[in-house]
Amino acid sequence: MIDKNIKKQFKIFQQKVYGKPLRYLDNAATTQMPNDVLNEIFEYETKYRANVKRGNHYLSEKSTEIYENARKTVADFIGTNIPDELIFTSGATDSLNLIARAWGDKNISEGDIILVSEIEHHSNFIPWFELAKRKNAKLEIIKVDNDCNFLLNDLDIDFSKLKLVAFTHVSNVLGVVNNVKNIVKSIKKKCEPFDVTPRFVLDGAQSVSHFGVNVKSLGVDFLAFSGHKMCAPFGIGGLYINRDIFDEIGEYKYGGGMIDSVFLDKCKYNSKVTNRLEAGTPNVSGAVGLAAACKFLNNIGLDNIFDHEKELASIMMNKLRKINETIIYGPVDVKHKSGLITFNIGGIPPHDLATILDTEGVAIRSGHHCVMPWHMEQDLKTTARASLYLYNDEEDIDALISGIQKAKKIFKVN
């Protein structure tokens, strides 16, 4: 159970918008930060702020220690006890681009196959699209059915050439939680006869903050995620890289902190992956905030968060479906879903629905949610999306529903 007063721990919920309580249902885009996280960042910035790994004065050493402790906490949060497997990045997009450069440029060659699903966020599509283009490799697509099941048996590709598979843990459009283990297993099986083992990239942007993710049990080589989607600040995120493939990792960005030695005619890069991949001064306060968020979420309990979202999602689904004009995308059964529902109300363009809901203090998202290829395949331009998090309650859902009724009145639907 989550404390009924949890919203009190988030200063942002004290305010009103247009004179109404804030009903924040856009958590798949960005989550809010609790006071605990803000306080830890404030404490770091006012007591320990200094560059890391560079100075040998008190603050710098303190700051370095705090930064590396944050790495431990975040690594632990996603299920690895090896802190070096966790690279701090600026977010999921940065993490995925990092893989495409540091791993992709080194390991993908002409004719190789990169496999992605058709329901990927643009951030887990374009880096592979561009990598394939750079290397004259082939980008192949896994089709999904209406319930977001990956149609792996329809794949007609040369598995002997498969080098990389990238897909999302939870779809940010359909909210479906993919069975990662099974997907990895069945692709590996198809590759077995050719004695090849592709690398697996999991986009965890919509998963790690909503239920306990143990990366070691999933069988993937990379896991990317964003801090701002898990109660942490903007501009910080993480990338897990399986230690077993460290020797396949090249460089991403070049600059200070990632080198062993630099001469005018040659550069040698640091062999430690966390150093090599984190060029430049890192976002230390971001890392502090991300670690604080992990502690905050652990204290509430990821299982509690999951149960809470599921219960609310089921209520939201039932109430939405009672409205005749509602079209739900993806499975109606919330069993395999996270707390995210994508829908349309017939006769009201989603963008207008979002505008009218906004005047009721209800924040939802409308558009293609950065998943244009899927929307195109469905012959859909745009959809509305309401997404829940640990601090939402039934009143938020009721405000959503009465906002929809208001929009129906304005648009004279039914």
């Binding site: 247009y18 009201i348 363009p349 989603p350 963008h351 207008d352 505008t355 009218i356 906004d358 005047t359 409308s366 558009g367 293609h368 929307h375 331009k381 745009t382 304005i410 648009f411 004279k412």
Partner: protein, 125 residues
């Protein structure tokens, strides 16, 4: 400040009545514009007479009520005019088509249609 007072009767009238939201099989000019942010996309075609007067307009639109209704209003104004008028029309002309106050983000929706018209090219024969 609330920002939905622009869903007026008038705006919704233009949204629900769009005589030019139709397919022209025979047209001389075609143009398209979109607003990636909200997913609005308008494709417009024009049929002109031998003096370059606009005889008919057909557009497809699948975005929000704002973009569609402003395209509808614009079409109404353009029928019978010389195509050169399109060069003279600007965003403020569009915003003043009806008396409502749009938020900056929704002004982008209102002007998608105009941008489609500005992108008009002669149909290749």
């Amino acid at each position: 400040m609330t920002n939905n007072n622009f869903y007026t009767k008038e705006l919704l009238f233009y949204f629900k009545n769009q005589p030019y939201k139709k397919v022209l099989t025979n047209f001389d000019y075609v143009g398209e514009a979109g607003n990636d942010h909200c997913g609005d996309n308008i494709k417009v075609t024009l049929k002109v007479d031998k003096n370059n007067k606009i005889e008919d307009i057909g557009y497809s639109a699948d975005g929000c009520a704002v973009s569609q209704s402003y395209m509808s209003m614009l079409s109404e104004r353009l029928i019978g005019k010389d195509t050169s008028i399109i060069d003279k029309i600007d965003d403020s002309f569009v915003k003043n088509l009806i008396d409502i106050e749009l938020t900056p983000s929704r002004e982008k929706c209102a002007t998608v249609g105009l941008r489609a018209l500005k992108n008009l090219v002669q149909k290749s024969r």
